[in-house]
Symmetry: C2
Subunit: 228 residues, 2 copies
């Protein structure tokens, strides 16, 4: 019954694995690289999807706004991950919005071209099937882990997920996500996040200075996230 963080991360970085060079070249031909700044919007929920994206640098938050105007972060994409293919593949509007969290560089593949190539490349097709199936599992796991949990437990879990997202080398990752965004991801309020982080800090579990959160004791967070 060990805590397994990989249950909560997509595997979309494997999208192009073992796809024939022929198709890789075709994909190259229908793509371009764009630079985006913090706060910019890549796409908005309810809009028609136009492209598939791959993160070359930076971080993108995916969020959904409910009827009462409150938004909820559902995922954060980072280097190597691909996204935006789901609504394209089932001909639906974007159910979520994509917003740039920090200066990013993104490879943009033309949507129609991507679907066309996917239909011809068996390996790409089957990578999609695998990735989509797995992403669903990630969701089920996340939802299962977040429901029936106290805010403290939810925040602990989200911090652990963010800890992986913000990892760049072997040193302790520095989580620079705003308190409001951590709240939106943990399905709680900014005030509650501040209170819980203060509590965690008092317990020596993390440091929280100058808008930077650094996890010091991952094991205790895992125990809290699992509900003791």
């Amino acid at each position: 019954m060990n805590f397994d963080i990989s249950k909560y991360h997509f595997r979309s970085d494997k999208l192009f694995n073992s796809v024939l060079p022929l198709y890789i070249d075709e994909l190259q031909a229908i793509s371009k690289v764009v630079q985006l700044k913090k706060g910019e919007e890549l796409y908005r929920e309810g809009s028609m999807p136009k492209a598939v994206y791959r993160v070359k640098k930076g971080k993108i938050k995916i969020q959904q706004t409910s009827a009462d105007g409150k938004s909820r972060i559902v995922y954060i994409y980072t280097v190597g991950e691909c996204f935006g293919f789901r609504p394209i593949l089932c001909n639906e509007m974007h159910p979520v919005s994509a917003l740039i969290l920090e200066e990013s560089e993104i490879e943009v593949y033309n949507g129609k071209g991507f679907v066309d190539i996917a239909k011809r490349s068996p390996n790409l097709s089957f990578n999609l099937v695998e990735i989509l199936s797995f992403e669903f599992n990630v969701w089920i796991n996340l939802i299962g882990s977040l429901s029936h949990k106290s805010t403290k437990e939810r925040i602990a879990l989200i911090l652990l997920i963010l800890n992986e997202k913000y990892r760049t080398s072997d040193i302790d990752p520095i989580i620079t996500l705003s308190k409001a965004d951590i709240a939106s991801y943990s399905e709680t309020t900014e005030e509650t996040v501040v209170r819980v982080l203060t509590f965690f800090k008092e317990q020596g579990i993390l440091s929280n200075e100058a808008k930077k959160v650094i996890i010091k004791n991952k094991r205790i967070l895992e125990i809290i996230a699992e509900g003791f």
Copy 2:
């Protein structure tokens, strides 16, 4: 801004659409039909997936049990729907359990055989991509609709979803799901479900006699589910 219930239902009944007769025959050859009684377990979370299923008769609830032993219904499959293919396609354990809600008849396709045929049939492959993509959207929509909502709103939404699941003809569907299951689906407790249903009944929105719930005023429920 009309309420659209189709956002909350999978489209797995389209799995075999336009698949060549050749492959349909092959699928037939690796399948068998089983009869199951209420309460029986089709598979359990954490187990290795062995088959893909198609409901010929009855209803199956998919649920996930969290660390503290509380379970949550994540979906209910009914006639025509296919399920169980996701973990097979990405080589993962079942993240959820499947339990028979009422006497059911299920077509069971051997998992390995199914994957093999899927890899050879482009249409089946692409149906999978489409269905998986869409199912993800259903989830995003459901989660988005359930979070940041009061229990009353959540229960209203689940009742509307169940109303479609229990529809058999043009007359008002009779929802025979137990209060405990409605609670598990709405992420609340049985007591709260009883209280809210009593309230809805007082408002003339539904009737609730002899373990049967019948929705009388769908429009009001939709307004409540959307948070007024």
